[in-house]
Amino acid sequence: MASTLPLWILVVAALVLTSWRARRYAVSLARAPAAARFDQPMRRLEGVMVAIGLHRKMLRKPLSGVLHAIIFVSFFVLFTATIDAFGSRLFPGFSLGVIGGETWIAALQDIFSVLMLVGVGLALYQRYVLRPARFEGSNGKDAAIIYVLIVLIVVSLLLEAAARIEGGADGSWRPVASAVAGLLGRAGISAPAAEEVFYWIHVGAILAFLVYIPGSKHRHMFLAAPNIYFRNLEPRGLAPAVPKQREAPGVDSLGMFDWKQQLDLLSCTECGRCQAVCPAYAAGLPLSPKTLITDMRDALAAPTALPLVGGVIADETLWACTTCRACMEACPVEIEHLPKIIDMRRHLVDEGRVSPGLQDALSNLTRLGNSMGKPSKMRARWTKELGFPVKDAREEPVDVLWFVGDYASYDPRVQEITRKVAELLTAAGVDFGILFDAERNSGNDVRRAGEEGLFETLAQSNIDEINACRFNRIMTTDPHSLNALKNDYRHFGAAFEVLHYTALLAELIADGKLDLHVADGARVTYHDPCYLGRYNGGFDAPRALIRSAGYTLHDMPRCRENSFCCGAGGGRIWQGDDGVTERPSENRIREALSLGDVAYFVVACPKDKVMYTAATDALGATGKLKVVDIAELLVPRASQALDMPAVETT
């Protein structure tokens, strides 16, 4: 056929151009440090199936999910048309006809051409009419170019088939193209010439699409699946260790990121789902997890003279993150924002570039093992006001070793709750003990603030103390300590069985060891702490406790995996509120208030009691909503029942 040679030339040229446009990425990935992401192929594949095959995360936003699914499936069906278009002319004699290219495949192509147009129509409606805020900061031009190319490809495909039908081909398997053929006929367009024109428009648009992709977010067509396949399979609560071959603890150039971290940058779809759930972004801080990724991606595409840390990504951007993990939970292509943020923070810490508040806290932690600057000897002070002695786990064996945590130990606003927990344990006959002045901050947030060396010091000290005790299980008050002891301490080979107090209490109630006053079903809401819920899956025990105490749970719209961070994590609690337009904790209290019928805002993390009490105060809502720890709802029958405040329902 006369068009074979020109088509070959076009195809080869397009492939060369495409590779040339992708060369930077390829070189960068090839040079990147290694990452161990090749284990467990079946589990990895399964994840890809669920993520892509079922569109699981995509469908959390129904319109987006459905329109993407339509475009996605149509793409696969129409790919047969692409094979046909190129195959038939590059290799004369090639045809899909033998497997039904002119019958059922033709019918599918015909129908899915229309569906593809419907999908693109919905996408246009979403992007230009609904305009969700999550697209803010995404590249609008890129999206528009792709819509135009897709429409061009599909319409030219339909018109080509229509022209062929008009020229006498069988149109019985192509109802849509047949209908269009009628229109062409009436317009008096000459069939063979038109077929040829539409064919070249079709293949031209496809090749243009191919050449365009390396510089576009539509790379995700090729990279989403591998990026999901190579996702992190370690426990969510384990922060990545500093690789041995790295000389400094942190990362200060893109080339220091391993290939998976770099692949992340190239896979971003700019969908903004991460941005929509980010508490730092909502608070008006200069951090959007989306632009964090795309800014680094752009620097990878077009190397700049700016340093990565403090140039491409500002110091304030890095410090704004609460490490709540909501972004990673939301990302449909499994991009890992946090390891990058932590690695760059490690660089800042190594350089001593920390805010005064953080410096104070870290210095206190270095010196005394707690962020408050209180002497270790005062750590167990809260036990003095208990009516009974607490065992010293260093002196005698215990069943449960209670790792109390800084806030629960030192903060006068939280000590009351700590004592409640001790009383509940005693009422249930639990044999427990604490480490007294030998306990140190678990290092969870120290590590996430990028202070790896201090984390190691704190962790090692705790591990040594814990290993010297005899016990069966560890219980923590604090979800942050829970996460460190359970996950991060694995770096030192420590494998403890660690429970959050809500889990232990739920177990005691289920075993009938704790007899409680039962309230009359009053409605309360519950805040899932990031490090208990999203990080460690502790969603159900607190809910079971609330039920056992006789309360009815009215969940907020953002609950469980989608819980909204209080704003304290990852070292944020040690930093000022500079630049914050709305505190995440206040945003959250507003959400609870809007439920309209709850009197209690139930928390299960000592930091939360502090953060949310302050937020309710600031909003002048103390009369409407009372922040209580879950332990305060649980009142042993032997004690006096809780007095539920009256609530004005709206």
Binding site: P249, V349, D350, G352, V354, P356, Q359, L362, S363, T366, R367, L368, G373, K374, P375, S376, K377, M378, E451, E452, G453, L454, F455, E456, T457, D617, T622, G623
Partner: protein, 254 residues
């Protein structure tokens, strides 16, 4: 330039103070010790001078926990770290240690001795003047900026009401640092771990050479003042109670 910086360990003020049995000293057994804040600034100033124009910095620490602080000093850039032995369980008296500091400065031909302007155990800031006198060289206290230009120093001293005075003086000199030109930097845990291998020198104290001129006969802990009262968080009830209290004290009419 050779710089010697003095680092004194003082009782952590957040701890609970208790008197020793004889009532003439603080019971130091259960106390945590921390680096005197002003000495921390002196160390920073020394390191800043080293970074600006090159210098050899020797850090000399005294008191419980000296080792930890010396490792920190090494991590921040001190070239040599020495623990000066001191009398155990006793406060660090400037009169007592001045001779040792002066002797070390002389032995190493130190050009500049830096120490904090005061410490909680030397609220009158006597260390710099004592050492200056023993070395027979100029001393200035209360500095907040030191610039070195060869053997000449430009030293800014803070006075009251925001007045600042700049001196020019020749080394050798002794300066009592109020604040460093820049806030003390943060040293990361990984740098501290690295510095934990730094060898720490030891120095034995010199006799002070001073006669004891007075004895402490008694020490008193701060007396607890009147305690606060929390009035709650509801503006209306708080206002009512406030009016009530003021009226009860005869400060307002009810």
């Amino acid at each position: 330039m050779n710089i010697l910086v003095v680092l004194r360990m003082i009782p952590d003020s957040a701890g609970e103070l208790q008197l020793a049995e004889d009532g003439r000293a603080i019971d130091r057994e259960w106390l945590d010790f921390q680096l005197n804040d002003f000495d921390d600034h002196a160390l920073e100033e020394a390191i800043l001078l080293k970074e600006a124009g090159g210098a050899k910095v020797m850090a000399v620490a005294i008191g419980e926990g000296a080792k930890r602080v010396l490792q920190m000093a090494a991590a921040r850039g001190a070239d040599e770290v020495v623990a000066l032995q001191s009398e155990e369980d006793a406060m660090i008296s400037s009169r007592e240690i001045a001779a040792s500091i002066a002797a070390m400065a002389r032995a190493r031909s130190v050009d500049l001795v830096l120490c904090g302007v005061q410490s909680s155990e030397d609220v009158f800031g006597q260390l710099a003047p004592y050492v200056g006198a023993l070395l027979d060289c100029p001393h200035v206290s209360g500095t907040n900026r030191i610039v070195a230009n060869g053997a000449m120093l430009r030293v800014t001293q803070e006075r009251g009401a925001g007045v600042a005075v700049t001196y020019e003086l020749a080394t050798p000199a002794v300066l009592g640092v109020q604040t460093a030109s820049k806030a003390p930097r943060y040293v990361s845990g990984s740098k501290l771990r690295e510095a934990s291998k730094t060898p720490i020198g030891r120095a034995t104290p010199e006799p002070s050479g001073f006669e004891r001129s007075a004895e402490i006969i008694t020490l008193r802990l701060p007396v607890q003042g009147g305690s606060g009262e929390i009035l709650g968080d509801n503006a209306d009830t708080v206002a009512d109670r406030l009016v009530g209290i003021l009226a009860a004290k005869g400060l307002a009419r009810n």
